[in-house]
């Protein structure tokens, strides 16, 4: 048993922390309020140059080969400063890992270096549809044979990074006669492909610097080589890659929760009411104790899930547990952080209201926490049947 990070992991954590403090933190509030896509993308490009877009990707394809523990540490540090940047990095990594795990040699050589180097500002994971959210297997987007290739038609929603993604992983039904989930396949569609239309951008509660759009596929023709992984294997691919993504989202939630609680605790150490510092009141001490205990538990769950992934063990249950607990812990921590600042916590003069808004989605996306419980229960019950 060894809970100590390696020297490499510590250096990656330090690099992420330093970059976050120097480059992301100074502009995060402005990006949230006003949006400034140019600055947002410039930071993503720099993060790509430093190797943050393909932490688990082989160096042969331009990745960093740092392992999953370092991935979790990096996302947490970035999220402490800017959750919008962190989620983009997390999704890019998930797309990279997906291509690396099921892509052909040509697909790996074509797309991984572009995402890892930042020549593509981002990559998108286009699974969700208006009628297929938690019930991902219910998707209606069709891919029909068209000469040597395929013709895609349907509507995707909530697609992270769509306006600046260089490539989209798109899920579509290839065999409508198959049992539910059995006839879905996965395609790589490049930005600019005729028929791939980036639609309306959502106005969101939090993580507002990161774009979330509708994506329309209107008779979008792709060549046969666009098929990613085996035909009709798409649902399994989605489910297994989302498990890794959950480590990213849990790590992001942890970063936001820590940022909120660190700020609120520092504030309450100085603010005086009734001639006493706020932290001298037991009411606030309990908030501090509960939040840091929960965030520490979240960190350990995440490290465990990441370590299992890195060492080739099964990790779906652990990743779901970590995502479920970390996102709920982060939301509770943010709620308390706002409470600790009182009225000031509700204003944009202090960052905790942004943290609270940024944390909210973490219990929803990459599988709602209700779906995480289904996964955990299924995994647990399997060993009882």
């Amino acid at each position: 048993m060894n809970l100590e990070l390696t020297e490499e992991q510590k250096l990656i954590q330090e690099t992420a922390r330093q970059f976050a403090a120097e480059r992301l933190a100074p502009i995060a509030a402005r990006l949230d309020l006003e949006g400034d896509r140019e600055s947002f993308l410039a930071n993503l490009k720099e993060l790509a140059c430093l190797g943050f877009m393909g932490l688990n990707v082989s160096q042969t394809y331009g990745g960093s080969e740092t392992g999953s523990v370092a991935f979790s540490l990096a996302i947490t540090e970035l999220a402490r400063a800017c959750a919008s940047t962190a989620v983009t990095v997390s999704v890019n990594n998930m797309v990279c890992e997906l291509i690396q795990s099921v892509g052909s040699e040509e697909q790996k050589q074509r797309y991984l270096p572009r995402i890892c180097s930042g020549s593509y500002p981002a990559a998108s994971f286009a699974l969700t549809e208006p009628g297929a959210g938690s019930d991902a297997a219910a998707l209606a987007t069709r891919a029909e044979p068209d000469g040597a290739g395929w013709r895609l038609s349907g509507t995707k929603v909530f697609i992270t990074s769509a306006p600046y993604a260089g490539v989209f992983v798109v899920w579509a039904v290839t065999d409508p006669a198959a049992a539910k989930g059995g006839g879905i396949s996965c395609f790589l569609v490049e930005a600019g492909t005729p028929g791939l239309v980036v639609g309306r951008e959502e106005l969101k509660t939090g993580q507002r610097a990161s774009a979330t759009n509708e994506v329309l596929l209107e008779n979008c023709r792709v060549p046969a080589e666009a098929l990613l992984g085996r035909l009709n294997d798409g649902y399994r691919i989605a489910m297994s890659e989302l498990a890794g993504g959950r480590i990213g989202i849990g790590s992001l939630a942890l970063g936001v929760g820590l940022a909120a609680m660190d700020f609120a605790t520092s504030y309450a150490s100085q603010r005086v009411q009734f001639e006493r510092k706020l932290v001298e009141f037991e009411a606030l001490q309990w908030m501090i104790a509960d939040s840091y205990t929960e965030l520490e538990a979240a960190r350990l769950l995440l490290m465990n899930a990441a370590f299992r992934k890195e060492t080739g063990k099964s990790f779906a249950k652990e990743a779901s547990m970590a995502k479920l607990f970390a996102s709920d812990a982060a939301n509770r921590a943010c709620y308390k952080a706002v409470q600790m600042l009182g009225g000031y916590g509700y204003t944009a003069s202090y960052p905790v209201e942004r943290f609270a808004r940024d944390a909210r989605i973490t219990s929803i996306y990459e599988g709602t926490n209700e779906i995480q419980r289904l996964i955990i229960a299924r995994e647990v019950l399997r060993s009882f049947s």
Binding site: E7, E8, K10, L11, I12, E14, T15, Q18, F19, C49, L50, G51, F52, L55, Q59, G63, S64, E65, T66, A70
Partner: protein, 258 residues
């Protein structure tokens, strides 16, 4: 060309410090350590020179200290140094600058470095003596507090920072040692692939006992926090008088007015 960079690992300066059990230095339990900021400028300048010369120079990075300093050495390797030397000394904090410089000199003597980069000073002890003492022991030229560096044809031209914001240009022939000040450059972030590749670079471990045979010339007798100051000076009365008083204080006690 061979280049040496001397670095120290220091605690995060925002830490809460408390004396160790002997009361002569800070306790290092629960502290997070990182590379001394001034030494980052030294590493960056050495790597920039290596790049300027098409990768030809060999850049060796050295640190004296316990095994935790390997993390700082690995950062320097990830930033572009070629190999590292740890002068292994669990009690480096009890050595004075003369001993640290002597130990480094004992290693450097046989290696014939053309250029040595060090930080101006360490952020924790702040003696600013190790660099210049090392140069003296080796009998080479040295210049401190550099904020600009150029190299051409065996000759080094630096810009130095003087008191009151003045600058000086200094030229010196190699072999030479320079100590690096804030403003010299912006240290690069080590890239993640380079952090991973640094694992494969050589880190030589030399026990300090093999290099150091000098006694300390100074000893830190105690380490303590200064007594808490009472509140600041409060100026009262007529505004014009207050302004005069303030100007006097700024003139006498600070360098703001000259």
């Amino acid at each position: 060309m061979k280049i040496l960079v001397c670095i120290k690992q220091v605690p995060d300066m925002e830490s809460r410090f408390k004396p160790d059990s002997a009361g002569v230095w800070y306790s290092d339990t629960d502290l997070a350590f990182r590379m001394n900021e001034y030494d980052e400028y030294a590493v960056e300048q050495a790597v920039q020179l290596k790049e300027q010369l098409g990768g030809e120079p060999e850049v060796v990075v050295l640190s004296v200290g316990p095994d935790r300093v390997v993390e700082a050495l690995k950062k320097a390797l990830a930033m572009g140094c070629d190999r590292a030397v740890q002068v292994q000394d669990p009690a480096a904090h009890l050595k004075d600058p003369w001993q640290i410089a002597s130990a480094i000199a004992a290693y450097a003597k046989g290696e014939n470095f053309n250029l040595i980069f060090t930080g101006l000073q360490s952020q924790d002890r702040g003696s600013a003596q190790v660099g210049v003492t090392l140069a003296e022991i080796l009998g080479i030229a040295s210049v401190t507090t550099i904020v600009g560096f150029e190299y051409a044809d065996g000759s080094v031209t630096v810009r130095r920072e003087l008191e009151g914001g003045l600058k000086a240009r200094v030229q010196l022939k190699t072999p030479a040692l320079v100590t690096c000040q804030l403003g010299l450059n912006v240290p690069r972030y080590p890239t993640l692939p380079n952090i991973m590749k640094a694992k494969k670079k050589e880190i030589l471990t030399l026990p300090v006992g093999e290099l150091l045979h000098e006694e300390a010339r100074s000893v830190t007798a105690s380490f303590y926090a200064p007594p808490k100051k009472s509140g600041g000076i409060v100026l009262e009365g007529d505004v014009a008088v207050q302004v005069d008083q303030l100007l006097d204080i700024l003139r006498d006690k600070t360098t703001v007015l000259r």
